[in-house]
């Protein structure tokens, strides 16, 4: 029977198991301290009462509540485009004399919101239009490039690496940055949004598709080569049938991402309801902002739901 060795480098390292965890935790704490100190962030800021009050104020006003802060507001029917019944005298007194801040429920909230949504029908549909066009052209364009970025199809290392690097560069830039650049160059509107989404979709589709192509069964491709088909025919009959279902799945997945992204592209001027969001925010019409936020949430949930259902069907 052997006696356990108490020394030896491997054993010493294994005994230091707890040391590894301790060092990791220490490193993470240091990272936290370094970041928060150089960003001049004190934990107290997260939790101070003023912070929550300010955020709560905004969130309330996103909903069916109107803030009454000044005596003038309290005494008049405020806002030509925002008529609200006058509050009762007790409340008027509270604001004018006691300096209180009141939140008044807005009557006919739902109808007014539905009206508003009707008004913004066009930008809303624009959002979908941008996503659809961008996703479609992006997916289409991705096909030839994904073939070039597949190791098993491309013989020239130069071509392979060039395309790979180009695709990686495209994907490194976030979609909103593309939108901002294009909106700045081409002017505001939906077109820069479409192009931005197109570039983004192109990059994502190409990467996913190229990975798919790299994992195909080489058999059919070999068979096509053997029977004397040219390169295009080899791909059409040896590769495409195998990756077609995955290509469609990826295209739909990217479409889903595009719809989510298109809701916020407008923040930089690239069309869709994001533009409205900016406008309403600037004019501090928070109820409308709230309506747009709800629309965004509904879109996100709907896309999530649809894609889950579609994915279940496909699998």
């Amino acid at each position: 029977m052997m006696t356990p060795p108490d020394s030896g480098p491997k054993e010493k390292l294994a005994r230091m198991g707890w040391l590894k965890s301790a060092v990791t935790i220490l490193a993470l704490v240091l990272v936290y301290a370094w970041c928060s100190s150089s960003l001049r962030i004190a934990p107290g800021q997260f939790t101070s009462g003023d912070t929550w009050k300010a955020m709560g104020d905004l969130v309330i006003r996103l909903g069916p509540f109107h803030r009454v802060q000044t005596c003038k507001d309290a005494n008049t029917a405020w806002g030509d485009d925002d008529p609200i019944a006058k509050p009762d005298p007790a409340k008027v007194k509270a604001v004018c004399e006691d300096g209180k801040v009141l939140y008044v429920y807005v009557p006919h909230y739902l109808t007014s919101q539905v009206e508003y949504l009707n008004e913004i029908k066009d930008p809303l549909l624009d959002t979908f239009r941008m996503a659809i066009l961008g996703a479609f052209f992006g997916a289409l364009l991705a096909v030839p490039f994904s073939l070039l970025a597949a190791r098993n199809l491309v013989r020239s290392k130069i071509v392979y690496w060039t395309v790979r690097i180009m695709l990686n560069l495209i994907r490194t830039v976030p979609d909103l940055v593309w939108a901002a650049l294009l909106a700045g160059a081409l002017g505001a509107g939906a077109l820069p949004g479409v192009i931005a989404l197109g570039i983004f979709s192109f990059g994502l589709n190409a990467k996913l598709l190229s990975e798919s192509v790299e994992t195909i069964d080489p058999g059919p491709l070999e068979a096509m080569q053997a029977c004397g088909a040219n390169r295009f025919q080899q791909i059409r009959y040896g590769v495409v049938p195998q990756v077609l279902p995955q290509f469609l799945a990826y295209a739909l997945y990217v479409l889903e991402i595009d719809v989510r992204a298109s809701t916020i592209l407008g923040l930089v001027g690239a069309g869709g309801i994001g533009v409205l969001f900016n406008t309403e925010l600037t004019y501090m019409r928070y109820r409308n902002v709230g309506a747009i936020v709800v629309v965004m949430l509904v879109i996100v949930w709907a896309m999530d739901f649809i894609s889950t259902k579609v994915r279940e069907r496909l699998i």
Binding site: M1, P4, P5, K10, E11, R15
Partner: protein
């Protein structure tokens, strides 16, 4: 010392795993339970540490009814019952030492165990348990770097570390090759002799049952159909227990011939 009184277990889906089990076990016995899959062997031994809750009956252990124990009492009882599993159930990424020390969890406070502050005595105990199963040099190796037989030994060491009064082994050798299987059972037998730990082993290999058991219990469809000393058991007894003729895959040696 351990008594099953009219123990029954019906699962929520209606399966009657144990029908009416009466059994008395004395200290230090080495009992092998045989039977086909689904006969209730696993359910029976899991009643002992209440990993399975009996739906009827009493289980008296040293005078106390296990089925009526509170949570705290149950945990204390479980520290007295060591269990080894067919799939070893080791924490793969942890070291052998950590796995064996887990046997002391029931005796260690939560905070200390979370921080890994095992007492010196505990660590020494763990080392001694590993020595007893013959692999002391593997102390600091990762658990999944060991062979099957070695992993099962580690789990035996973990059970030993609990200083248990009872040892349960649920198909301990089903995943191991024949020589290793015999080796593990020899270890279990030796520990049973040396420490006088009452041992229950589930096996479906009849030749191993005959070789190692003091007492054999045969189960069929939730009932005990045979209970007697191993020397009284013949192939015919097994046929009665199984309700069919013996096949080659029922014996360990036979399993080798089949190329299994």
């Amino acid at each position: 010392m351990l008594q099953f009184k009219n123990i029954a277990k019906t699962f929520p889906d209606g399966t009657k795993a144990l029908k009416n089990v009466n059994l008395t076990v004395n200290e230090g016995e080495f009992i092998v339970i045989v039977g086909l899959s689904g006969a209730g062997k696993s359910t029976l031994i899991r009643c002992i540490n209440r990993l399975v809750e009996p739906t009827a009956g009493q289980l008296l252990a040293f005078g106390q009814d296990v089925t009526k124990m509170s949570d705290a009492e149950l945990r204390r009882w479980r520290t007295q019952v060591g269990m080894i599993f067919q799939s070893f159930n080791l924490v793969k990424r942890s070291s052998v030492l950590q796995n064996v020390l887990a046997g002391r969890l029931g005796h260690t406070g939560t905070m200390r165990s979370l921080l890994g502050m095992w007492s010196h005595d505990d660590i020494e105990l763990a080392k001694r348990c590993l020595e007893r199963v013959g692999i002391p040099e593997k102390l600091y190796n990762r658990a999944d770097a060991l062979s099957g037989g070695q992993q099962q030994r580690v789990s035996i060491a973990r059970a030993l570390c609990q200083k248990p009064k009872i040892m349960l082994a649920d198909e301990p050798v089903a995943s191991l090759d024949p020589p290793t299987s015999h080796s593990v059972l020899r270890d279990l037998k030796r520990i049973n002799r040396e420490d006088k730990i009452t041992t229950f082993v589930n096996l479906h290999f009849i030749d191993m049952a005959q070789e190692y058991a003091d007492r054999i219990i045969g189960m069929r469809a939730g009932d005990i159909v045979f209970d007697g000393p191993a020397k009284d058991v013949t192939e015919q007894t097994f046929e009665e227990i199984y309700g069919r003729k013996i096949r080659p895959e029922d014996t360990r040696a036979g399993a080798v011939r089949e190329g299994a």
